[in-house]
């Protein structure tokens, strides 16, 4: 079952126009010639806009489709484990962002912090990590959106991959982070409207009692096609392990993503930052994967869905359930959801990349004497070029499994987190110890992945080693380090572009409290 291609094009044109119009209005109202205005919205955004932006940036296409599959594979614990695994990393990020604002109030990117804290070579390495992470995240979103447009409306995958990538690149190029945030409010409303209409409808059609009885049979009947004794165990060990892997993967995806730092630095004050992230993630975001895991994953178990059936293999569990219970309108609703999720996550990633391109790459390495106007010009065009490259990357991945990319990206992006986090708190951590810790975590993770034969455990152990290994190396090495880093250097750091702080606590002079340990 597919909806008409005309409906797909209509959706694209309507949302495309809405997003570009919002961005253009924002750019006209606020201007985007200053670097700080373009990449951190002048550091003046209020609570609601930041929390809506954080919510939509963390709703990935996989939040909807992946959580539903987790519900199918792990039963009632699947959605919950997906949710906590992806939400808890924000409780590392929130104190990290607060600390960064306090010890280095005039920073714009995490690469600037790394450069001041660990030196230029380290900054270049982290810049590459930051760029690769955004590329990976954005390509995944483009692949998810293009597939959805293909199976929902029969539209050409390649064309969709390029068009949609250019779409989210264009609204970032037009109005930078502020444009992305205002677009987020619109996308937030659309996502919420669809989730809170479609999901209760599917739930009511399935019936609570029917889902329970169906899942009970899955748990108790060894002959059931999806037999899983833990289907109704909310504390199932397999599901918990899945949550830990999700946590290890998500830590890197958040801590190395400039988009989240940009949103955190854009908050008008630290109180706004803290509450916007808490409400956006714990209160608003966390229930979404739980709902998808429970209703779609649990519902698919309850109807004893055969995962190998041709129709399910073609589309996946979520589209199958949406079209089975809501018909063509269900497919349209799901397409809207996936489009909004993909566009916002891609937009957030590119807004972060625009900051790295304008502040770090162009000004520091390509053109030292660049004016702010030249920096913003470069940031805009670089984002458009990257948008095109992301589309090409998504085209190249047509028909290929993303599983291996996911596995290696988890190992790759978890390893550099420990020096970044510990370096904000510890005076003793130096560049040499940091430089040793990252390769140890990375190589240890890869060795674990290839050496362990059990496919249920190798991914899990590899990710944990990659995340925890560098932290352990640093904590063991710290007592043997003689010198201390002077945190006042970060406090007194002045950016090469104009920075206006609105928060009195951020602007306080460097005295006492800024130091670590």
């Amino acid at each position: 079952m597919t909806a008409s291609p005309l409906t797909g094009w209509l959706l694209l044109v309507l949302f495309g126009i809405a997003l570009v119009v919002i961005s253009s209005l924002v750019a006209r109202r606020f201007g985007t010639q200053d670097v700080d205005e373009l990449v951190v919205a002048g550091r003046s955004l209020p609570f609601g806009l930041i929390s809506a932006s954080v919510f939509v940036a963390w709703v990935w296409t996989t939040t909807l489709l992946g959580a539903a599959e987790a519900g199918f594979w792990f039963g009632i614990s699947g959605g919950l484990n997906y949710a906590w695994g992806a939400a808890i990393p924000f409780f590392i990020f929130i104190p990290l962002a607060l600390r960064m604002r306090r010890v280095m109030p005039r920073t714009t990117t995490f690469v600037e912090y790394i450069r001041e804290r660990f030196g230029d070579t380290f900054a270049k390495v982290y810049m590459v990590f930051g760029i690769l992470l955004v590329a990976y995240v954005c390509v995944e979103q483009s692949v998810g959106m293009a597939y959805t447009m293909q199976y929902s409306f029969g539209l050409n995958y390649k064309l969709m991959a390029v068009l949609l990538s250019l779409m989210f690149a264009s609204f970032i190029a037009i109005a930078g982070l502020r444009g992305s945030v205002y677009n987020s409010v619109f996308q937030f409303m659309v996502i919420v409207a669809v989730v809170f209409v479609a999901m209760p409808l599917i739930l009511s059609k399935l019936g609570l009692a029917n889902i329970y009885e169906g899942m009970k049979q899955v748990a108790t009947d060894p002959n059931d096609v999806n037999h899983n004794p833990d289907a109704l165990d909310i504390f199932a060990p397999g599901g918990f392990r899945y949550g830990i892997v999700g946590f290890a993967v998500a830590v890197g995806q958040i801590i190395l993503s400039q988009g989240y730092y940009s949103a955190a630095l854009a908050a008008v004050n630290t109180r706004t930052l803290k509450w916007a992230y808490i409400i956006g993630t714990i209160f608003a975001w966390m229930p979404i994967p739980i709902i998808f895991g429970n209703v779609i994953g649990g519902g698919a178990l309850a109807i004893h869905l055969d995962i190998n059936a041709a129709e399910v293999v073609r589309t996946g569990i979520t589209p199958y359930m949406f079209s089975k219970y809501l018909g063509v309108s269900g497919l349209v609703m799901l397409a809207i959801l996936v489009l909004m999720a993909g566009l916002t996550t891609g937009g957030n990633g590119l807004a972060g990349l625009q900051a790295i391109f304008s502040v770090d790459l162009y000004k520091k390495y390509l053109r030292r004497d660049a004016t702010e106007r030249q920096q913003t010009f470069f940031g805009r065009w670089a984002v458009l070029v990257v948008g095109l490259l992301i589309g090409v990357g998504a085209v190249a991945l047509e028909g290929k499994s993303l599983l291996n990319i996911d596995i290696f990206s988890g190992i790759l992006f978890a390893a550099p987190c420990a020096p970044l986090v510990i370096g904000l708190y510890s005076k003793r951590l130096n560049t040499a110890l940091s430089a040793i810790s990252v390769p140890i975590g990375l190589v240890g993770g890869l060795i674990a992945y290839f050496a362990i034969d059990n496919p249920d455990w190798n991914f899990f152990i590899a990710n944990v080693i990659s995340l925890v290994g560098p932290a352990v190396v640093i904590l063991i090495g710290l007592p043997f380090i003689k010198g201390e880093f002077d945190f006042t250097r970060l406090k007194e750091y002045t950016s090469e572009h104009r920075v206006k702080l609105h928060d009195e606590t951020d602007a306080a002079p460097a005295a006492g409290g800024a130091g670590g340990e």
Binding site: L49, I76, L203, I234, F235
Partner: protein, 47 residues
């Protein structure tokens, strides 16, 4: 094998909607208020 009771199961299926509804409502009210304030400030600037 642990099997959730029907009552707890029903609660766990419905509760995330209430939980998410509260979070979404807080953000929605804040966003509308902030956008209205921005538009008013814009109007004053224009006049």
């Amino acid at each position: 094998m642990t099997v959730l009771s029907q009552g707890l199961f029903n609660f766990w299926m419905v509760f995330p909607f209430v939980w998410g509804g509260i979070g979404v409502l807080i953000i929605l009210v804040a966003c509308i208020r902030e956008i209205v304030l921005t538009l008013r400030a814009n109007g004053r600037r224009g006049g």
